[in-house]
């Protein structure tokens, strides 16, 4: 039990504890903040695995982008401080049983599977120069095609969001109701 493994267990406990609080908290704003802590913990796990680039991307995109977007939409759609409608107890119990059963099942599979072919011929090296070169290379292991496709997807998602969330132009309240019923 050295410092590295103690760090791993601490990070894992932090991720799982914050995740459980994020899905069980009755106030939606607190749930969003617990989700943020869980995502920061996952970034710490990436740092622990020495993939610093993915950890930085995790912090920039998830913590700086998605969680902020979620908090904005909470402010737009919820009355802050109000507690959410609680789910029926039997539904909670059966969901918890399903989750526990699934965890135990997959845990059992992982424990009894011994086909992991550990390949430690050369040390793992994921520096940014290597990632960038392979991302934009056109040779057989390059990722230029998915890179371009995902850029088109982001453009389509951006235009789609604007179109979906756009208010119908210059209509009265009654017209808006009619339009919404038509849609």
């Amino acid at each position: 039990m050295n410092v590295s493994s103690i760090l791993f267990y601490a990070i894992s406990a932090f991720i799982l504890g914050a995740g459980i609080l994020a899905v069980t908290s009755v106030k939606i704003f607190r749930a969003a903040i617990w989700l943020l802590f869980s995502l920061v913990g996952i970034a710490a796990l990436y740092f622990w695995m020495q993939v610093e680039f993915i950890a930085a991307i995790q912090i920039v995109v998830y913590v700086g982008g998605i969680v902020v977007l979620i908090i904005f939409s909470i402010f737009l759609t919820q009355h802050s401080g109000k507690e959410m409608k609680s789910t029926p107890l039997n539904k909670k119990i059966f969901s918890a049983l399903a989750a526990l059963f699934g965890t135990a099942f997959v845990h059992n599979l992982i424990v009894h599977y011994d086909g992991f072919a550990f390949n430690s011929a050369e040390p793992f090296n994921a520096n940014v120069a290597k990632i960038g070169t392979q991302m934009l290379s056109t040779t057989s292991h390059g990722f230029i095609l998915p890179f371009e496709v995902v850029s088109m997807l982001l453009l389509a998602a951006m235009i789609g969001c604007i179109v979906i969330a756009m208010r119908p132009a210059q209509t009265t309240a009654a017209d808006t109701n009619i339009l919404n019923h038509k849609n």
Partner: protein
Amino acid sequence: MQEIPLTQILFVSTALFFIGMYGLFTRRNLITMLMSIELMLNSVNINFVAFNKYLFPDNLDGIFFTLFIITIAAAEAAVAIAIIINLYRSHNSIDVDDASEMKY
């Protein structure tokens, strides 16, 4: 680093995935359901990076899959929030039980 085997990282990601699944089953609010889906996507990302690091250290395919999953998750969250805001405008609620016109 070598003291922690791959299986322990897989246990953490499994537990995180099923925490997200529990949230998806019990929550009735669209924003919290979206948050549960983000937890599940993150557990998959941990798996990709861990398999890449432990089993195939000489190439970087798991890292690239993680990058693309993060990109698509960002696009998905943006579109989902646009739909949620549109639903709130027409129903004044983002509870899934209140939007049941197209059920059955």
